[in-house]
Symmetry: C2
Subunit: 347 residues, 2 copies
């Protein structure tokens, strides 16, 4: 994997990441394709919004349909008909947020599937193996997701465990051309812990660095604080990825601070729930005021939802729980997010 910075403006920068499956223009927003599908979207439609890369979830895919199965079927790209780059998370976050009866030890995590209750185990080595079977272009180290709020001692213990797992992830990762491994800086909202985490990860050496454990309830101001003191600790010539973020103004503020990559379920999930991101704010299309509204969702947007339909129609679809409502609202939100990123890259 190669990263080239093409322009800078104060702390912000634009660039290109070259992977085995194509180029990612940065700053980049990665639509979330949890279960080998960006919900309610054909992959060619995701691509049409301008997305260069999508994210897949190791936790979901290992449980269903299974990483070995996907490998036998030709890998995740072929399975889901997405020929572009794919980043997979490590499974650590979802184990903590979705699985039942978790048991963490030094070696890894044992947990019950949220689907069928079956017992599974993830370790750094297992997470690397799964992401390799999936054929991920960008693999994330296996880490422990620090709860929020956490005391300094809790955040320290968690960060140190994640560091050990990062080291083991690096050792277990099978390098190949155009495939990358990213480290994840942890440490909660404690500057000394973030610094220890960042320095240790840089010592181990990764192809890119993510900042994890944010957007978990700390608020935007605190999140920007963490970015302000953490980003300067990361190498300039490696991509920086802010995990699970965020709303448009979170992204704008993070790009200004030097972040290159984002992922978030907000555009897809809120689209399915009837919330649209539009120039000037958000619209809850369920509101009665839109029942007779002949305007497009966002007059400046060129997605099919905005070009071909009135708000009144989208209101009707979402109120009627029609699948087409989820399809069009998701498409629009992903278009909005990609237009935002394009504006940031060109602006």
């Amino acid at each position: 994997m190669k990263f080239k910075i093409t322009a800078t403006s104060d702390k912000a920068r634009t660039g290109e990441i070259r992977t085995a499956h194509g180029i990612i223009k940065t700053p980049a927003f990665m639509p979330v394709g949890t279960a080998a599908t960006v919900k309610a979207m054909l992959p060619e439609s995701v691509r049409a919004t301008g997305a260069d890369i999508i994210l897949g979830n190791t936790y979901h895919l290992m449980l269903r349909p299974g990483a070995e199965r996907i490998a036998k079927l030709g890998g995740l790209h072929k399975f889901m008909n997405w020929p572009g780059p794919i980043l997979t998370d490590s499974g650590g976050f979802q184990v903590m947020s979705l699985a039942k009866l978790r048991k963490i030890d030094k070696d890894g995590v044992t947990f019950q599937s949220h689907i069928d209750g079956g017992e599974h185990r993830l370790t750094p080595e297992k997470s690397m193996e799964i992401q390799h079977l999936l054929g991920s272009d960008i693999t994330m180290v296996f880490d422990e997701c620090t709860p929020y709020p956490a005391t300094h001692e809790e955040a320290e213990d968690s960060m140190r465990l994640s560091l050990e797992w990062a080291e083991r992830s690096k050792q277990a990762f099978i390098p190949s051309p155009g495939h990358a491994l990213f480290g994840i800086v942890q440490g909660g909202i404690y500057p000394d812990l973030r610094e220890e985490s960042a320095r240790a990860l840089v010592d181990i050496g990764f192809d890119g660095y993510a900042i994890g454990g944010l957007a978990v309830g700390e608020g935007q101001e605190e999140m920007f604080n963490v970015l302000d003191y953490t980003i300067p600790l990361l190498p300039e010539n490696k991509p920086r990825y802010l995990m699970g973020v965020g709303k448009p103004d979170d992204i704008i503020g993070a790009v200004a601070r030097g972040i290159d990559m984002f992922d978030c379920v907000i555009p897809t999930r809120s689209g399915r729930n009837g919330q649209a991101y539009v120039r000037g704010g958000t619209i809850n299309i369920r509101n009665a005021e839109y029942a007779d509204d002949l305007h497009p969702l966002d007059p400046e947007c060129l997605c099919p939802a905005c070009l071909d339909y009135a708000r009144a129609y989208l209101h009707h679809l979402v109120k009627s729980n029609e699948i087409l409502g989820s399809m069009l609202m998701t498409w629009h939100n992903l278009q909005y997010y990609q237009d935002l990123m394009k504006g940031l890259r060109e602006g």
Copy 2:
């Protein structure tokens, strides 16, 4: 509206119906777009399968979003971005199958909405008004749906009421170029009643004739019986529409008997439930045998579901209740049905 027969073969025929919104090649299958959307499909995708015309449901649309609202928004074609012909049913069938607390009198039906319990009333005049507001290319007369099974007396009373309503529908219908009104032959499984209904409707005079009250549990043999003695009573130079039918072999048998038009929820509904119609039969994609199946759903089909994905992926999507599963399975089934109709027209 103009109907031209382009070829005949024994009782079967091919033709063209010219409407205000374009040409319908017959025999035609009309995908069902109940609530102003063919579920899980963009309208351009419906068109891409080869569909010339879709069906809208008066009952659903009058309740939500309301016919007056759709008229204010520019009519159903514009509202749902379907520029081609639309046939609307009269609401009679859904009032009987979906609404609560129905009260039928000579003049019409009072019923409670299945959505919010609100009281509504449909009469022949009201049904004509609603279908006019929607901008329907082919309007159906308001009829009473005869229950099945029904005694001769019940079927007779019901058919006679439907005849009165057909007469009133004809009087209330506002003619305009390229817009048609179809009568509906009722009479259950009783030849004398079907004959009385057909002759009386032909006397009133309609642009086309539907055969109603079939595919309600009588079985294919009985349905074909009814067609065998009813179709000869209808004018040769008018389109014949078998309502709510059916499975592929129902359609093949009905075309051989001289039917020109069909509608049915089977391809869309069964698609969402994981059942695919393929060359050689049906596939329930949920079955475990497809979990590792690298073949396309139907190797001869050119729809995106078959061109871009393996059965294993569709199995995964449907088992995971992913919206994309509904989208792809629906697309395939509609493509299968349109390919079937094309084969019948060309065969």
